[in-house]
């Protein structure tokens, strides 16, 4: 245990609580309170409107899909960055942070230009496969994949780096093939980190706005995301309805994150 208490606790905790309370807690309390002006039945009516339900389905569905797709691709990037030495590795590593550093509106514009029917990706995809990505729900998923991918790479990377080489060596010495070692030793050890990365990527993707609205086309019932619907409700001064959608989104994604945390705990217990 450390010695006696250091001075300055009162001031620092005071500043911290004032900062946290004024900026985060009081405003979030307003979000928790406002929907109830509609009553429970009114909130239910808002959330079950066809257009709202469709938007929530799209936001959560596309975010789950994007986070899922990020798992194998993120694992590949993390594996190559941590396990191999080659020219350009540092650059590859730095590029992974790009979605974090690029303002969302810029990413949105760029992805739209790439996937438009005359874009670098959109044109060949349309010509070869007849796929349209921009202005469809697929465009939403593509944008969310861009947003979620770095989270998986950055959570898996440190675990992969620290994974004890002796476990792998032991498995190999005991006659395991490389494939068995990867499947039975490495992947289980990475599972908690993969789950965490999945959760972080999903949480970010489900609320994402700027990267999505340019490429989505925003057709009601088809390619309209839930955050956009909040904006639409606010423009019509339906504050309580906007808050109801916002609160539902927050609670749904917290419930999912909690479930992931439970799963991670169960994994750890199994491993122990």
């Amino acid at each position: 245990m450390a010695g006696r208490a250091l001075p300055g606790f009162g001031l620092s905790i005071g500043v911290t609580l004032a900062w946290l309370g004024l900026i985060v807690l009081i405003p979030l309390a307003a979000l928790a309170l406002k929907p109830w002006e509609l009553g429970a039945a009114g909130i239910w009516a808002v959330l079950t409107q066809e257009r709202v339900a469709a938007a929530l389905r799209l936001s959560f569905g596309a975010a789950l899909l994007a986070a899922l797709a990020s798992l194998p691709v993120g694992l590949l990037l993390a594996w190559v960055i941590t396990r191999y030495r080659f020219a350009g590795r540092k650059l590859l590593d730095a590029l992974v942070d790009l979605p974090f550093a690029l303002p969302t509106a810029v990413a949105g514009l760029a992805l739209t230009a790439l996937f438009a029917t005359n874009g670098w990706f959109g044109e060949p995809l349309a010509a070869w496969f007849g796929w349209r990505i921009a202005y469809t729900p697929a465009g939403v998923a593509v944008a969310l994949f861009f947003v979620a991918l770095p989270f998986v790479v950055r959570t898996v990377e440190p675990v992969l780096r620290d994974l004890a080489a002796d476990a792998e060596e032991a498995a190999a010495t005991l006659g395991a093939t490389r494939a068995q070692t990867v499947l039975r030793v490495i992947l289980p050890a990475l599972a908690p980190a993969l789950l965490t990365g999945f959760g972080l990527g999903f949480a970010r993707a489900v609320g994402e706005y700027g990267s999505v609205i340019f490429i989505a086309g925003n057709m009601p019932m088809v390619s309209e995301i839930a955050p956009l619907l909040i904006v639409v409700q606010l423009e019509q001064f339906n504050y309580a309805a906007a808050a109801a959608i916002g609160l539902a989104m927050l609670l749904l994604s917290f419930a999912l994150l909690l479930a992931l945390a439970g799963l991670r705990l169960a994994l750890r217990r199994n491993a122990a």
Partner: protein, 277 residues
């Protein structure tokens, strides 16, 4: 002979090739197309779009919003990190979770919460109107929304480092009679200066690039409440593509500079700093 824990050369080459392909398609192409589209008609039109009075006003407003928001979160973040890392108190875990909370909140909701408080039909709306104070659709709203979305950056870069460094130096300073502020200024901050700088830079990049949260509280008045990312959207919706991509390219450069600075600071401190989000 190949060690049993190494992958076959062909597999290695295949995986590296795939990873490079992913990086080019997913990360490099979006970055490249921003600059290609901005310079589609040459350098002159792109520069002209940036020199436009509305664009200049957007740049000024973005700088102003960041200049207010970043120091607020720097002071709050240092205070929080100092409290969490150098003191013991009940509820510490909860405090850290709450500090990180804004990262799991949609940007649109981050703007929405302030409209619910300060908007025309918000809880404080009538009182604000009586006293002729405007927060939403004005600078204070833009600043509040920006402070919310950039809230955790400084705290979360500092907390793990300050916890690692322990409390011995601070305890020695306290034994010599130094007060809290002097200890913080003379002992703690010099030990974490590069991490603090990194946190501030990341916070600043997000503050200048934020779109969703400020979009909700801005009102989109050209030349008045339009930040750079919002100006990109307006130009794009008016089919002024060169202008939209020129402003977007400027924002992309800011992001690249921030990444470069972060890499430099990681090299200086010889440790990975916690990621951007």
């Amino acid at each position: 002979m190949r060690r049993p824990t190494e992958d076959a050369p062909w597999l290695r080459a295949l995986l590296i090739g795939l990873a490079v392909l992913v990086a080019v398609l997913v990360f490099l192409a979006p970055l490249a197309i921003v600059f290609v589209e901005a310079l589609r008609r040459g350098v002159q039109p792109a520069l002209a779009a940036l020199a436009d009075p509305d664009a200049m006003a957007a740049v000024r407003l973005t700088l102003l919003v960041a200049a207010i928001s970043v120091p607020v979160n720097a002071v709050g973040g240092v205070a929080a990190a100092w409290a969490v890392a150098k003191h013991d108190f009940p509820g510490k875990r909860l405090l850290v979770v709450l500090i990180e909370l804004p990262f799991s909140v949609s940007p649109v909701i981050s703007g929405l919460v302030y409209v619910l408080l300060f908007g025309a039909q918000g809880y404080l709306g009538p009182w604000l109107r009586e006293h002729d104070i405007q927060i939403i659709f004005a600078l204070p709203g833009l600043v509040l929304a920006t402070v919310f979305v950039t809230f955790p950056f400084v705290a979360r870069t500092l907390i793990p480092l300050m916890q690692e460094q322990g409390r011995e130096e601070e305890e020695a300073a306290a034994t010599l009679g130094a007060g809290g502020l002097v200890t913080l200024w003379r002992v703690t901050l010099p030990n974490v200066k590069w991490a603090l700088l990194a946190g501030v830079l990341l916070c600043n990049a997000r503050a200048m690039g934020e779109f969703g949260a400020v979009s909700v509280v801005s009102g989109h008045v050209r030349g008045q409440t339009n930040t750079m990312p919002l100006h990109v959207e307006i130009l794009y919706n008016e089919y002024m593509f060169v202008g939209a991509f020129a402003v977007a390219a400027l924002l992309a450069l800011l992001g690249l500079l921030t990444l470069g600075a972060k890499a430099l600071l990681e090299w200086l401190t010889a440790r990975p700093l916690r990621g951007v989000a």
